[in-house]
């Protein structure tokens, strides 16, 4: 499984559509369309939004979002990583608390992992409709 996308951007609201556009290019190239493509774009957007909103809220300087995507033709795995404060709940979150459940709902598997040295890694996996016989 090789990395199909490896992107590092400043953690800012302006970069959320940039990430989505990069992932859309990948999906187009892989002929992933319709609801599956839309679900992937939604999940990636939610994960990046969480980084921008939460990960660096106590940091002196804004940090980065790292996005990798890879596929073996059967599954698409997208990872969104930050080097922020680590995932903690917030009763006073400005959001509706829909981000993680939206990701979990549209993906087949969502994983939230602590990052060594601080930060959060959110991994999302999607089953791709199989068009040929590639073995797992």
């Amino acid at each position: 499984m090789s990395d199909d996308l490896d992107l590092v951007l400043a953690s800012s609201a302006e970069n959320v559509p940039v990430v989505r556009q990069a992932v859309r290019g990948l999906l187009d190239a892989a002929a992933v369309r319709d609801q599956l493509a839309g679900d992937v774009l939604l999940a990636v957007t939610e994960a990046c939004t969480n980084v921008v909103r939460h990960a660096y809220r106590e940091a002196a300087a804004p940090g980065e979002i790292e996005i990798t995507a890879s596929s073996d033709g059967r599954r698409l795995v997208i990872a969104v990583r930050d080097r922020g404060c680590g995932l903690t709940p917030r009763i006073d979150s400005p959001g509706l608390g829909l981000g993680l459940p939206v990701i979990a709902a549209v993906s087949d598997r969502m994983e939230v992992h602590d990052v060594d040295g601080g930060g959060t890694l959110v991994t999302m996996e999607f089953a791709l409709a199989q068009s040929d016989d590639g073995a797992g």
């Binding site: 609201a13 989505r20 609801q35 909103r53 829909l98």
Partner: protein, 125 residues
């Protein structure tokens, strides 16, 4: 990528239509919030998603807040969304059950008529 736009369209009855087009996410959420505050100066507003190609949960959060404000101040608030709305927008709205929480109609004219009436909750368990 289609850039997000937000258009405020006054209606002869004094209502305001807030029409979203393109892709909306955190990068346009604050502009949307400000537009909805502006629109809340009228007795009722309609938020039209028919030209929106993408919305995420940060946008839904802004819509829910505007709806709550409308309910508290006795103004009308109706969302326009129907079969003609782009599929990604319909998907996130139905996934989160936004259309069970906000008054939602498929047609702008019907929505305008409904927005003349102060907001009451659709469904709140």
């Amino acid at each position: 990528m289609t850039l997000p736009t937000i258009q405020l369209e006054p209606d002869p009855r004094g209502l305001v239509v807030v029409a979203l087009a393109g892709e909306h996410d955190l990068s346009s959420a604050e502009a949307l919030r400000e537009s909805l505050v502006e629109a809340a100066r009228s007795p009722g507003m309609v938020v039209d998603l028919d030209m929106a190609e993408f919305v995420d949960s940060s946008i839904l959060g802004v819509l829910v807040q505007a709806f709550r404000d409308a309910r508290e101040s006795g103004r009308g608030f109706v969302l326009v969304m129907g079969d003609q709305t782009p599929a990604p927008v319909r998907r996130v709205v139905s996934l989160t059950r936004l259309d069970h929480v906000l008054p939602t109609l498929p047609d702008r004219q019907a929505a305008l008529a409904a927005a003349l009436v102060p907001t009451a909750p659709v469904d709140n368990e």
